[in-house]
């Protein structure tokens, strides 16, 4: 029995945060999971089509499931700013 904690993540029966799509575990519930994800950080400028071309130095961070490559979350950031950290109590 798993419990949903975001649009893409669940907490599984072992109290681990896991990918909703494939069940790949990403770490203990209540802690940050992003460090365990595959991670890409590119300029937002190149993330979409032409209308994104004037996005200056902002970065688009994407966090992927190491098990199935599902995109679990994304966020924009300036270089050096910490990951956004969401914690759901189960």
């Amino acid at each position: 029995m798993s419990t949903r904690i975001s649009a893409s993540l669940v907490v599984n029966e072992n109290a681990e945060i896991a990918c909703m799509a494939c069940g790949h575990a990403l770490g203990p519930s209540g802690e940050s999971w992003k460090e365990a994800a595959c991670f890409s950080e590119t300029t937002l400028k190149g993330a979409g089509g032409k209308p994104y071309s004037n996005a200056a130095n902002v970065l688009l961070r994407r966090f992927y499931c190491p098990g199935c490559a599902a995109l679990l979350d994304s966020e924009t950031a300036l270089a050096g700013d910490p990951f956004l950290n969401d914690v759901v109590q189960i």
Partner: protein
């Protein structure tokens, strides 16, 4: 009280507001009110607390409560039937000086039973720049008339000296007088209808019903919060003014039946007027909270009770006087709207029951253009390009964002048609349309942004001036959700066709895109600029945030997007992994291969640690 009577009274309160809004619109003569619906009417209890929130910009519902309370404190013992009070001081309750609150006590047989309050963004307020947005102001003293409270109407009689003083300090006083008249009329109608309601049902029963309504909202909202998981969610907004970058940081904590919004870490207050004061930040997160969490709960003081806010003094979300504040509504307040939308939506996403209510950010950045100058009729024309109310919808858990779909903080916002604008300002549109590839990619993509270009036309002065108060040109402010990408940033360009003509180049008077324009294109985002002769102003709003993984979008939807001009084939292939054949249909095999290749690329990335 029997539930039928309670329900009748509750619905009568709704209708009181509806009728007051209709009255306000009938009397007002400005496009920002009638077309943009930059307005609000609500009802308040005798102590000034919110009784029934109306429509319009929702961050005003709570701020107007503070306006009522400030008036109660200031005029204690001098509040009489037929009075109308005015306040527009941002350090008292208002959001910025242009949003003038008129609040009226409602008496029944001599007893104060309620208040009605409304606002419009008045035609002018006497700031450095016509229209009220004042990018060159460095303190509130140059942002126009500002009052912490005055009695505009005394027992039904206009205080002419006050009205004349106010009108003496603004441009186009006849239009400002009409704005104020529209609000007086709205409050009059609200008062008459409330008195009729009290008269029919008895003051004690109405008071009892109102108390029950507030208690019911509190109970229902606390029940809803208890259904949602406890946790802490973060969001972050960047925005740029000139060469400076600001952050609004939000950590929202939900514990049992309470919510705390903590803005600790947000940037220090700015020298530019994009700051907001305490009550504006407070109202700022209620704007998404009311529709996202309380869509079936009456918006009143009961909803406020489980909420607390931490907004450190001296920051961009709680600036101290005399910091400039004239652009708060399109500055820090909107970032508070956006940040709260994401935190609330993340919380909703953590619930099986409520996940469907989650949404990426709608219309993260107002692309406000205020025009001013003589129009083709010889009139002084001041006003906003109402396209700023036509932002792009955010992707939701079940559907794409609405293209050019408006914004959450104002459920009734809309923009004027081209002809209305051309009849008021000496301009002609070269084009106005949705923008391809502007919606944030996702399983459900963000709504497409708006783009338009205008040129002066038939101006007695050879053109007109405009104020650009654009943030979001370097940063996307419409964040995605659940992996969805943010929408594309805004863009403002001054196309120097006049220089092109002087250089002997041909200028295309019917250019249908920036690429077809001859003159040099200068990116602008902040300040006052001329629109003269053959120069062009090009404006593009930000796209809505996307929801979910773009690789999960049904390929047929990409084919449709490409067919309808919302997504290019290149983005369809590179971002969504959907390849189309020569006829525009989905090439299933090629698409599978493209998506597989993207997934391999994803898995080749290192872990973040």
């Amino acid at each position: 009280m029997d539930p039928i009577t309670f329900s009748i009274i509750r619905h009568r309160l709704y209708r009181v507001i509806d009728e007051a809004v209709i009255t306000l619109k009938h009397v007002s003569g400005s496009a920002i009110t009638n077309e943009g619906h930059d307005l609000m009417v609500s009802l308040y209890r005798a102590d000034g607390s919110l009784l029934m929130g109306g429509v319009g910009f929702l961050h005003h519902l709570t701020s107007a409560a503070e306006a009522c309370k400030a008036i109660i404190r200031r005029f204690e013992g001098r509040i009489n039937p037929g009075d109308v009070f005015l306040t527009n001081c941002p350090y008292t309750a208002a959001l910025h000086t242009s949003d003038v609150y008129l609040v009226s006590p409602i008496h029944y047989e001599g007893e104060l039973v309620a208040w009605s309050a409304c606002f419009v963004h008045v035609y002018d307020i006497g700031a450095m720049v016509p229209g009220g947005f004042s990018p060159d102001s460095r303190d509130i003293f140059t942002e126009g008339f500002s009052s912490p409270g005055l009695k505009l109407v005394d027992r039904g009689e206009m205080n002419a000296d006050i009205m004349d003083t106010l009108l003496n300090m603004v441009r186009a006083p006849e239009m400002v007088a009409l704005d104020l008249s529209s609000m007086i009329a709205a409050n009059n109608v609200a008062r008459e209808r409330m008195v009729a309601l009290v008269d029919k049902y008895d003051p004690k029963r109405v008071d009892q019903a109102c108390q029950m309504l507030v208690d019911q909202s509190e109970q229902n909202f606390r029940d809803r919060l208890r259904e949602l998981p406890d946790g802490r969610w973060e969001s972050r907004q960047y925005f740029d003014i000139e060469k400076e970058t600001y952050r609004v940081l939000l950590a929202m904590t939900k514990k049992s039946d309470t919510l705390t919004f903590d803005f600790t870490g947000s940037s220090p207050q700015s020298k530019y007027g994009i700051n907001c004061a305490y009550w504006a930040a407070w109202g700022g997160f209620f704007a998404p909270l009311f529709p996202l969490l309380c869509y079936d709960i009456t918006w009143n003081d009961g909803v406020l009770r489980p909420i607390s806010m931490i907004a450190p003094e001296g920051t961009i979300v709680n600036c101290t006087r005399p910091a400039p504040i004239s652009l708060a509504t399109v500055g820090a307040i909107q970032s508070v709207n956006n940040a709260a939308c994401i935190c609330i939506s993340k919380m909703l996403s953590a619930s099986e029951k409520y996940a469907k209510e989650a949404t990426a950010v709608w219309h993260g950045s107002h692309f406000a253009i205020f025009m001013f100058g003589q129009n083709q009729k010889g009139q002084e024309a001041i006003g906003i390009m109402t396209e700023t109310f036509g932002g792009a919808g955010g992707g939701r858990s079940f559907a794409d964002g609405v293209d050019v779909g408006g914004e959450i903080p104002n459920p009734i916002g809309r923009m004027a048609n081209v002809e209305t604008t051309e009849s008021h300002f000496p301009v002609r549109y070269l084009f106005r349309r949705a923008t391809r590839d502007s919606g944030g990619p996702g399983k459900y993509r963000g709504g497409t942004a708006l783009e338009y270009a205008i040129q002066q036309h038939d101006s007695p002065d050879g053109g007109i001036n405009y104020v650009v108060s654009g943030k979001g040109t370097k940063f996307s402010m419409s964040d995605g959700l659940g992996g969805g990408f943010p929408g594309a940033p805004c863009n403002f360009r001054w196309v120097h066709n006049n220089e092109a003509v002087e250089a002997g180049k041909n200028v295309n008077p019917f250019a249908m895109s920036p690429e077809q324009m001859t003159g040099e294109q200068e990116s602008i985002s902040w300040g006052v600029f001329p629109l003269m002769d053959q120069d062009v102003l090009y404006v593009r709003s930000d796209g809505g945030g996307g929801y979910g993984d773009p690789l999960m979008r049904e390929p047929e939807k990409i084919a449709r997007d490409v067919r309808e001009g919302n997504v290019s084939q290149g983005v369809g292939r590179e971002v969504y992994g959907v390849v189309l054949d020569a006829e525009g249909g989905v090439d299933a095999a090629a698409s599978t291969a493209a998506r597989d290749a993207i997934r391999v690329g994803r898995l080749s990335q290192e872990a973040a640690e």
